[in-house]
Amino acid sequence: MNRIESIFSSGRESGRKLLMPFVCGGSPSLDDMRETLPALAEAGASIIEVGIPFSDPIADGPVIAEAMHHALESGVTPRSVMDVVASVRSSLSAGVVAMTSVSIVERMGRDRFVGMLADSGFDGVIFPDAPLEEAGPLAHAAAGRGLTTSLLVAPTTPVERAKQICDECTGFVYVLARAGITGESGGGPTRAIRERIEALRSVTHLPLAVGFGIGSPEHVRTVVSPEAGDADAAIVGTALVRRMNDAGPGNAANAAAAFCSELASGLV
């Protein structure tokens, strides 16, 4: 069984919800990223999302977009991000999934790109800007190298279409807590997320991970608590990236771990 699948399956068996932090690859530096991945796993992260920096991240707010631009300016490439993951993979208990624009995948070549991910120890990949209609070949390529494929379901997605999206996914489905871009503005998740989760449960058995606008232990609780959203996992991106950047090179891993522990308190 793929590592992402087994992490979710053991979580469900034990009634445990998961925390999935997002880090921007190579931000604030590749060295910081190398220290951050194990630190996050120690601090309660079950699966870590690694964003491959992209020049035009239209779904990202200013914090992550700025982190990506900064990483690219300092010479970070998809290859160098993958190399960092490869260097820590053997000592890492957490799952690792890449989040990458299809612009990168299509240019580098689908099979070549997913092959590089698999060889570097990634367990899955999220395609945040792949529309359902174009996702088949991407999912097929990923499956060929044993990687899970996650696509996004938006609040604007009708349930029938959400079912088709879920059917293209493996591992987990990425559920947007709100329309809009990544970031802490626009308010955190509300209890209305439960209705959405219930509707999605009726069309898929895959684990549901909720992201966008999740930035505190309270938000995590709203998303995953059985009394509230009851999703399988909470995804935290901007709030973490901001703390890592504020801490700066050399201190980012410690700041990330401290915040991750804080977030993990929202799981119970």
């Binding site: 020049s55 631009h69 995948v105 800007d129 696509l151 938006a154 871009i181």
Partner: protein, 397 residues
Amino acid sequence: MPETLVAALRELERAYDEAIADDAFHAELDHLLKTFVGRATPLFEAKRLSGLAAERAGKDGAARIWLKREDLAHTGAHKINNTIGQALLTRRMGKRRVIAETGAGQHGVATATACAHLGLDCTVYMGAEDVRRQHLNVVRMKMMGAKVCPVDSGSRTLKDATNEAMRDWMSSVDTTHYILGSVVGPHPFPRIVRDLQACIGREAKEQFAEAMAGEGSKKLLPDCVIACVGGGSNAAGLFYPFIDDASVRIVGVEAGGRGPGLGSHAAPLSHGSPGVLHGSLSYVLQDEDGQTASVHSCSAGLDYPGVGPEHSYWKDVGRVEYIAVDDDQALDSMLLLSRMEGVLPALETAHAVAAAVRIAGEMGADRHIVINCSGRGDKDVDEAARLLRERGEPGFE
């Protein structure tokens, strides 16, 4: 394209299909194009320019050159054809707010104008570098009640303004329509913008045949049509009605900038390769990792790393030739058309003029070329004067 926008794109496609099946929509659009935009724009013969083309080619005569005068449309460019149509669609969808991206500011001005006319709230995203280069248009937009948001991220030009408009749309999609300004972006935008601009080619065809009939000729079609290509909307508008006319040679002119090296030009069809940008698969300027490359053109409206997917198709099937004209040739041609014909073209348009003069010289005097004179050059005079001063042009020191 992020899933969040898929519902809005579907809604737009539905609204557009319903609109074009509705006679009342066409009646209102045509009325506005006639009485507000000033269509039909004239087809004007540039006789002295043709004479110069012959002289340069060392021949007795060159092809006759005709200008489709989109620079005479309200707001000074073809962009208004699209914004009036999409503003009407906005109203049909029951939305009250419009956002747009702009490079040279012509699309921003045209959007602000259409919104003012139809009572819609308007926000325009514009790269900070373009705000500097195209200050006149920033003021025009503000005069018309639009909010102009300078974009400081990335290269601070059109691509980044497009990113920011899409980010806005992701959060405001229920109440807001995004009036995209070119034949780029996700479906159905390339189709809608092409259709709304196709009045250029339809009129040109009709006007050309009329002009020929006036001379007692039975000639119906020009031998060649030429337009500049950034995203490609003025070109698509001129080309589309001629695509099935096999006798018509079609030439698109990209921004060659300072030369063919990546980062020095904005010519994805000439120097790029297929890739995904802003929701379509098309020729694009990217590095080997799929990161969008930086682009350069003296003209802010051509300064975009991608191009409409239909242009890529026309290139691949061999229907349209795409060539590049560099900054210096464009500047020369801006002066040339101004001095030979009393028409001061936009720097974008000047790229097409440069190509047309060369091609006219290669053709016989019984041949005809139609150039899309896509916009007027007032917006460019400060930037052009700066560049002319830089290269020591007499009179501009």
